[in-house]
Amino acid sequence: MIVLMLLAMLLMVMPRAQAIDPVELEDPGLQERYRDLSHELRCMQCQNQSIADSPVGLAGDLRREVRELLLAGKTDAEIRTHMRERYGDFILFRPQFSTRNAWLWLTPLLLLLIGLIAALRVVRQRAALAPTDNSLSDETSGDSGSSGRSAS
């Protein structure tokens, strides 16, 4: 039963196997780049899907554009730039690092750092408040049976 569930979950997270695109390039190297780029570029109409996964007309047109650029010998970087010039940074799922995007990339790191510092401070405060170890345990082990009166 569990195996079935796991299998079902596995099938659901395999988007590449279900890609919409029927077109393939002959050259395997180009085809691989085409696949990768198609997953990197956002379908501007259904904005949460890549052009590889989106069934709408615009996605097909953009895939065609990528194919033609690849066949014309453009590099991946040139193709990304070509798309960014027309649609802006938003067409890339992974926005390229620039002064405008810097805060987008750095803020999570910054927050993580703040969180770590805060956590460290809490741990240190707790350590400072905890009773120091030796004195108490010495008394109890050395004075077994005694109710607190000093041994005579």
Partner: protein, 179 residues
Amino acid sequence: MTRFLLPAGVFALLVAVLFIGIQRAPEKTVIPSALIGKSAPAFTLPVLGSDQQFYADSLRGRWYVLNVWGTWCPECRNEHDTLLEIARSRALPVVGLNWKDDDSAALDWLEQLGNPYDVVAVDREGRVAIDWGVYGAPETFLVDATGTVVYRHVGPLNLQIWSREFLGRLPRASAGGGL
């Protein structure tokens, strides 16, 4: 007491940031054109219902409007009356870009509903639309006399938007009229 000051401060900052984000959300749903301030992409396309070609650089030297539309697009139907009104006002040339459409359907549409365009260029395969960064119809671009894209409106036009965003960007003494 001071122990709570830092987390409370961070929380207040977070609330402020999120609040500002929510306020700005409506404008963020529309993607700004990447062409603003850049040269309008040149193109040569067939003219609808004719065997002539339309050369985009023939428009150089005057302000014009490029309207991307298709008969398959319901919102284009909604803005059609506004386009007719704009054409009647003869404020600016209106160039139509018939996007991923069928010629006879487009011709029927214009004949039945009226033709607001000075010329209609047929982009059957959508290549020119991609050059203009079009991601849906209708879209309307404002281009100045130097051929620079000044503004893009996504979605159907109405006279309010036309007046505020398009006419409002024209220089005082702009020439009117069609092509």
